[in-house]
């Protein structure tokens, strides 16, 4: 019998702890499939964030380091400078990357560190139970914006991909979504391209993945996918923001 579908070798097989309907699992799988296809698992060191993906080191079947909140790009910089021939990636959420870790991501990108960042934007803090993120939408109700996010008090949704695209050290940055199969396939292509840019030594690469958080959005998994499509994509336009070619 021919196996047509199986777990990528780049995943350990440990059951994900993610909530039902959360798209972290899809993105983990896409990253792992790309690692398998590029045959880089044995030469890859991943850096896990603080946030829902904090246990990513249990799931990716390669050497891993766990960073403190927001500091994954700095940790990854240290690894890559010691092991320039290895592939190094960070996997970070929006609280981690777009709030507490803005300094680290901007400067790692600006230095053109040969790293790949997978940036999960679900417009909320998941692990701490649904607080406002810098990426939360105007009017979005969260634990810490119970009357809806007021932009005059809390600012505007921060578009990290556009922001990083302005930096010369960045080789490739694309925003994708995983709300349906077509977009999942597109997301995988982007993730693969991001790793290829790193392997070619072209500079910093990042894929921003619009994702869902049914638990903290207070929606069913299906409603969440719809909400992403209808509300997040207009605020966070999909597409390549920078590609040096």
């Amino acid at each position: 019998m021919t196996k047509v579908f199986q777990r990528p070798a780049s995943l350990t097989g440990k059951a994900f702890h993610y909530c039902p309907g959360c798209t972290h699992g899809i993105v983990h799988r896409l990253v792992a499939e790309v690692m398998d296809e590029l045959n880089i698992r044995e030469d890859t060191i991943g850096v896990a964030p603080v946030g829902c993906a904090v246990f990513a080191y249990d799931y990716f079947n390669c050497d891993m380091q766990e960073a403190s909140h927001g500091r994954a790009p700095a940790v990854a910089t240290g690894i890559k400078r010691v092991l320039p021939d290895k592939v190094v990636f960070t996997y970070q959420g929006d609280g981690d990357l777009a709030s507490i870790g803005t300094g680290e991501i901007i400067h790692a990108a600006n230095r053109g560190e040969k790293l790949t960042t997978i940036f999960i934007n679900n417009a909320i803090y998941g692990m701490t139970g649904g607080q406002m993120a810098p990426t939360s939408l105007p009017g979005q109700v969260t634990d810490t914006s119970p009357y809806g996010r007021k932009v005059e008090e809390s600012g505007y949704p921060i578009r990290m991909s556009e922001l990083l695209a302005a930096l010369e050290g960045v080789a490739y940055v694309e925003r994708v979504s995983v709300h349906d199969v077509r977009h999942i396939n597109q997301a995988k292509k982007a993730i693969r391209k991001a790793f290829e840019y790193q392997i070619a030594g072209r500079g910093f690469s990042m894929v921003e993945v619009l994702s869902t958080c049914p638990t903290n959005w207070g929606k069913t998994p299906v409603e969440s996918l719809e909400w992403l499509k209808d509300n997040m994509i207009p605020c966070y336009p999909l597409g390549v923001k920078k590609e040096v070619g």
Binding site: T12, R41, E42, D43, T44, I45, V47, V54, Y57, N61, C62, D63, M64, Q65, E66, A67, S68, R71, A74, V75, A76, T77, G78, I79, K80, R81, V82, L83, K86, G103, E104, I106, H107
Partner: protein, 356 residues
């Protein structure tokens, strides 16, 4: 090897390179900036990497990543910058990564001053960051000792997989003295089977981490680290006893202050007051046994701790002496350096209170 005249900060940097350190991540701050500047010049010439990070916070996390990848690595800073590094230092201790952290202390709190101080003793020896952990803290008092302890520091860090701190001050960082670098090539790095270098299946998958979500697992992890600390306490205490035989008063001081106290000891001797000095070289582990030993001697009547702070190490001296003899304190703060005459006046006061 002939002696060369070097600034303390530069001596630390050169000693680190000669000890095989090839990675430096730092950020400018007075009075330690000569360390990153020296590294920026020298490291690229020896195949190493110098990186000026965007912040102290980023620098210490780069050290975490590089140490986790198996490199001999260091950072340096001064008091306010070391405060910023504390989060990362806690993670490094929790993940058991070897590295060297240099603190060339200046006056505090806050932005404080840029002059020499010793007011980070608590921060260095009692934690600084969150959680149950210790750094090994080495306190040089000469430029030669900055060289020697920097090199020993890397070895200690490797021996125990624990971060080591060199705790100097602005005076030591900025002054020049003749130094000698030990002959011979730096010893090879011990094997780092735990490092994340890419997993080919020939060993367990390596994860550098300090998260243990199960409290029992975390307690086991912390207890294991503390058993390591017991080994460090048993094997790594370094202390200098100067002129303690026949002393009636024993001073306790480290770093720059200990040099001033040595002058005072000669001044006091001219007045017929017999003063000795216990100079902790490891501030953690603290040489408590040495203090206990001298406190038990009938000839010793009192202790005097001298610091460039409002009194921090004096707490460890008092704990060690444990009420057996009185412990007095004299300190200057804010970047002020104690004057030998003022210390001598304290000694005369103590001498006056000793029944003859």
């Amino acid at each position: 090897m002939p002696k060369v005249l070097m600034k303390g900060n530069e001596a630390i940097a050169e000693a680190a390179i000669q000890a095989g350190c090839r990675y430096f991540f730092g950020y400018p701050i007075t009075p330690q900036t000569e360390i990153p500047a020296y590294m920026a010049k020298r490291l690229p010439r020896v195949g190493g990497t110098f990186l000026q990070a965007e912040s102290e916070v980023a620098a210490i996390n780069m050290v975490y990543g590089a140490a986790g990848a198996g490199a001999r690595v260091m950072t340096s800073s001064s008091s306010p910058g070391i405060s910023l590094k504390q989060e990362g230092i806690s993670y490094i201790a929790g993940a058991e990564l070897p590295c060297l952290i240099v603190n060339i202390m200046r006056g505090g709190p806050g932005l404080g001053s840029i002059q020499a101080a010793q007011s980070d003793y608590f921060q260095a020896t009692k934690g600084g960051g969150h959680g149950d952990y210790h750094l090994v803290v080495l306190a040089p008092s000469t430029i030669q000792e900055m060289v020697d302890l920097t090199q020993e520091g890397f070895a200690i860090a490797d021996r125990y997989r624990n971060p080591v701190m060199i705790l100097g001050d602005g005076m030591l960082g900025q002054m020049m003295e003749p130094v000698e670098f030990p002959e011979g090539k730096a010893e090879d790095l011990p094997p780092r089977k735990w490092a994340t270098t890419g997993w080919k299946g020939d060993r367990p998958r390596n994860v550098i981490n300090s998260l243990y979500i199960d409290p029992q697992e975390l307690e086991d992890h912390v207890n294991r680290i503390y058993r390591k600390y017991e080994e460090i306490k048993a094997g790594e205490v370094r202390v200098e006893c100067y002129n303690c035989e026949d002393a009636e008063i024993i001073a306790a001081a480290y770093g720059t202050t200990s040099r001033i106290v040595k002058s005072v000891i000669r001044m006091a001797a001219r007045e017929g007051i017999r003063v000795g000095l216990i100079r902790p070289i490891t501030l953690w582990p603290f040489p408590g046994d040495c203090f206990r030993k001298w406190a038990d001697k009938g000839s010793v009547k009192a202790f005097l701790t001298v610091e460039m702070s409002t009194g921090q190490m004096v707490e460890d001296v008092s704990l060690s002496v444990n009420g057996k003899k009185p412990v007095a304190f004299y300190g200057r703060s804010g970047g002020m350096v104690p004057d030998p005459e003022d210390i001598l006046a304290e000694i005369r006061k103590i001498k006056g209170g000793i029944p003859s």
